[in-house]
């Protein structure tokens, strides 16, 4: 690595602009080669040698706590597909690009993936901003694109796309199910404080929670709305404030290093003993914080993602996925791994559907995109259906932490699996309006919780 990097440095330093640009052009030509052979968009394109998939994920920056497990899951699953002979007899190859540098970079990389690498599908992205920028690009460049992990509900509520599909839920069901769970297990709470990261997700998720809470349980006192800086490492101010205000419930939709630090500091200062925490993304932090997070607090996983899911559709499938991931990467899979598994599963089911519809021939980009509409595909824990508006219908799991001897970190007990339809905004409606129409009897209709069972 260092040797090639060093070489590149001295070469650049020693050539003129023209030579450098010509060199770059030649390099671009090389990358371009192979693209012209694929008659994309033609009536009946030839079967490709391999199916190339561009995957946008965070390889650098704070969100790499999600991006790197997502990439690892993709590597494992692509290997599995290839070991089983590929999709429709064709091998698959992932090409990863980094979301770390921001939207400008991702938009450029998306164009490169499509126009130079000639990828057949794109998985984009973890950041909501990147998804919002890439979905219109999918339609412009006419390349099927699966939104594999981003949270914002704006994408399919604001516009319709022919080439962009989401293989998971969005912020509305993810936050609403945490709220419903809270209302079920702790119905008589009177006040609540929120500590969210100060950026789009922190604000959006609080908006959803508050709108839902005002409809389902009006009159809850919001003791404090605290938005510490994104990437903050010290939460002493927020913890002191919440300790003084004594709310019954503390909501935080934070994630990554922010959430880890908040949990550790709140634990040290006994805040967990004074209030019930609701943490819709904490499943991804459990293995890092370990038993610093006490029992009895509410944890979500942005979907029905839990390696000890109480009622998986196919227990063997979930076990194979969790054990396979754990033996290769040394930790239990967290929700981005499951989201990646869903995107890979959707890709497999979608391509097979399109190939079958074509009687074994290779579909055009438009035919492949059309296959994803209404597609139902298996996930490690159950199955996901892509609605007519492109939004995926994914179940949600919420549970309460429990310290079990078998694991060095908290596990979930009293788990509740929310069927996707019951918590997802119906087609054609906006989340903000739909949440206002919810009625308190929704809580009474919830299914029973399932306790943790030692293996």
């Amino acid at each position: 690595m260092a040797v090639t990097g060093r070489g590149a440095g001295t070469v650049s330093a020693g050539v003129s602009r023209r030579e450098a640009l010509v060199g770059a052009g030649a390099m671009g030509g090389l990358l371009l080669a192979g693209r012209s052979a694929q008659a994309q968009g033609a009536k009946s394109p030839e079967k490709p040698q391999e199916i190339k998939v561009g995957i946008a994920t965070y390889l650098s920056g704070p969100a790499s706590v999600f991006g790197v497990p997502g990439r690892q899951a993709a590597e494992m699953l692509f290997d599995e597909i290839n070991a089983a002979g590929g999709i429709a007899g064709i091998k698959v190859r992932p090409i990863f690009v980094d979301e770390g540098p921001g939207v400008d970079h991702v938009v450029g990389e998306y164009r490169r993936l499509v126009q130079s690498e000639g990828v057949h599908l794109v998985f984009a992205a973890i950041s909501s901003a990147d998804c919002i920028a890439c979905a219109p690009l999918a339609d412009e460049l006419k390349r099927p694109t699966l939104l594999w992990d981003c949270g914002t509900q704006r994408i399919f509520e604001d516009r319709r796309y022919d080439f962009a599909f989401r293989t998971q839920a969005n912020a509305t069901p993810e936050i609403l199910s945490a709220l419903l769970y809270l209302l079920k297990v702790k119905p008589d709470f009177k006040s609540l404080a929120v500590i969210n990261q100060d950026y789009a997700w922190g604000r959006d998720s609080w908006d959803i929670f508050r709108t839902g809470m005002n409809a389902l349980k009006p009159g809850v006192k919001v003791a404090a709305e605290l938005f510490p800086r994104f990437g903050a490492t010290d939460f002493s101010t927020e913890i002191t404030r919440v300790l003084a205000l004594r709310p019954d419930v503390v909501l935080t939709t934070s994630w990554g290093g922010d959430l880890d630090a908040l949990i550790r500091q709140a634990s040290d200062r006994k805040l967990f003993e004074r209030a019930t925490f609701v943490m819709p993304l904490a499943e991804s932090s459990l293995q890092r914080v370990g038993k610093a997070l006490p029992a009895g607090h509410i944890v979500g996983a942005r979907g029905d993602h839990w390696f000890l899911h109480p009622t998986p559709q196919d227990p063997a499938r979930l076990k194979k996925f969790s054990d396979g991931y754990r033996s290769r990467f040394g930790s239990y899979p967290i929700y981005p791994c499951f989201h990646m598994a869903q995107a890979v599963s959707a890709m497999k089911a979608g391509i097979e559907k399109a190939v079958a519809a074509k009687g074994g021939g290779w579909p055009t980009d438009a035919e492949m995109a059309a296959a994803f509409k209404g597609l139902e595909f298996p996930s490690p824990t159950s199955s996901v259906r892509i609605r007519e508006d492109g939004q995926g219908l994914e179940n949600q799991i919420i549970g309460t932490t429990l310290h079990a001897d078998a694991y060095p970190f908290p596990v979930l007990t009293d788990m509740l699996v929310f069927p996707a339809e019951s918590v997802t905004t119906p087609v054609g409606q906006k989340s903000a309006d739909w949440l206002k129409t919810l009625t308190p009897d929704m809580v009474a209709k919830l299914p029973q919780t399932v306790a943790y069972k030692p293996a």
């Binding site: 690595m1 990097g5 060093r6 590149a8 440095g9 001295t10 650049s12 330093a13 020693g14 003129s16 602009r17 023209r18 450098a20 640009l21 010509v22 770059a24 052009g25 390099m27 671009g28 030509g29 990358l31 371009l32 390889l59 650098s60 090409i95 990863f96 690009v97 980094d98 540098p101 921001g102 939207v103 400008d104 970079h105 938009v107 450029g108 990389e109 164009r111 490169r112 499509v114 126009q115 130079s116 909501s128 901003a129 919002i132 920028a133 219109p136 412009e140 914002t152 704006r154 100060d198 950026y199 789009a200 604000r203 959006d204 994104f230």
Partner: protein
């Protein structure tokens, strides 16, 4: 000598950009971004002449980009949005400039940095207006009344960027050779002497500052028109740092430098990202270290050195 070299390089560069953008379609986007950043760096070059480094010019980049994003909903015409964005950047540049030109060196740089971070926070905090870090998506924009789509729209923005780059490049070239340019150099060498000659250093620096804000504004507008998605990251200090970085990479000796630097920076970045997705920062860092160690005059310095050796 310098003059013909610059002219030849500028025209050859422009032709090469068009040829590359034609031959490799995905590079069209990258090159447009490079030209836009080059424009902003051209403004920074003016300030560098006076020995002042601004760590906050992303402010004008973001200001213009957001004006285009909001304005596109009302007046979807690129040829109106661009001058409006430049005007806004210039006006704010004048207001800010009145304060910051009183300071020099680290204080000048830090004040600029602070103001751009204030704007970054505003973009993030006024969530209901700006959608915070998720950013704003631009609706389709017309060019001189023509509704262009896909490739045609990309070519139009690239052409616009190229024209602006050549025009501002020529303008800055003339300005640097004029008394104003000499006065800027005077601020760097010995400001008191300038004052003895009856030239107001503050006024000289202010005019350079406003001009640099306008150029950064044009760059920001081009970025918004190309990516069609603006986020507060445009105002973040790393974007300002990137601009200063490009200035060093390209070399401060000539108006060609910023564009050389921007093209080299963007191309290195995308090719490094394509080759090693998880270590592209390392490659970029090594290239920049290489330039700093082996070519302190930047890429421009290398080229001039090579041509002078040939003629000698």
């Amino acid at each position: 000598m310098n003059r013909t070299l610059e002219l030849v390089l500028a025209l050859a560069g422009a032709a090469l950009i068009v040829a590359l953008a034609y031959a490799v379609p995905w590079l069209r986007f990258v090159l447009t971004i490079a030209l836009a950043k080059g424009l902003a760096v051209l403004g920074i070059l003016l300030l560098l002449r006076a020995g002042q480094v601004s760590f906050g010019h992303a402010l004008y980049l973001a200001l213009a980009a957001y004006l285009v994003a909001f304005g596109a909903a009302l007046v979807p015409e690129a040829l109106l949005l661009l001058p409006a964005a430049a005007l806004l950047a210039g006006t704010v540049g004048l207001a800010v400039g009145l304060f910051v030109v009183r300071y020099r060196e680290i204080f000048f740089g830090m004040l600029n940095l602070a103001l751009s971070m204030v704007f970054y926070s505003v973009l993030e905090k006024f969530y209901s207006l700006t959608h915070g870090t998720d950013g704003i998506r631009l609706p389709p924009v017309r060019f001189a009344g023509q509704a262009l789509e896909g490739d045609a729209a990309q070519w139009a923005v690239l052409a616009l960027a190229l024209v602006l780059a050549l025009a501002f490049g020529a303008l800055v070239r003339v300005a640097l050779a004029s008394p104003l340019g000499e006065a800027l150099a005077g601020i760097k060498t010995r400001e008191t002497r300038l004052e003895f000659m009856g030239v107001s250093a503050k006024r000289v620096l202010l005019s350079a500052y406003v001009a640099s804000a306008v150029m950064a504004g044009c760059g920001g507008a081009i970025i918004a028109l190309t990516t069609r998605h603006v986020t507060p990251a445009l105002a973040y200090w790393t974007t300002s740092g990137e601009l200063v970085f490009i200035a060093i990479l390209g070399g401060a000796g000539s108006v060609v430098g910023p564009f050389l630097g921007a093209a080299a920076y963007e191309l290195t970045r995308v090719y490094a990202a394509a080759l090693v997705a998880n270590a592209w920062q390392l490659v970029l860092g090594l290239v920049l270290l290489g330039v700093i160690v082996f070519a302190p005059g930047g890429l421009w310095g290398l080229i001039r050195g090579a041509t002078q050796r040939k003629t000698a």
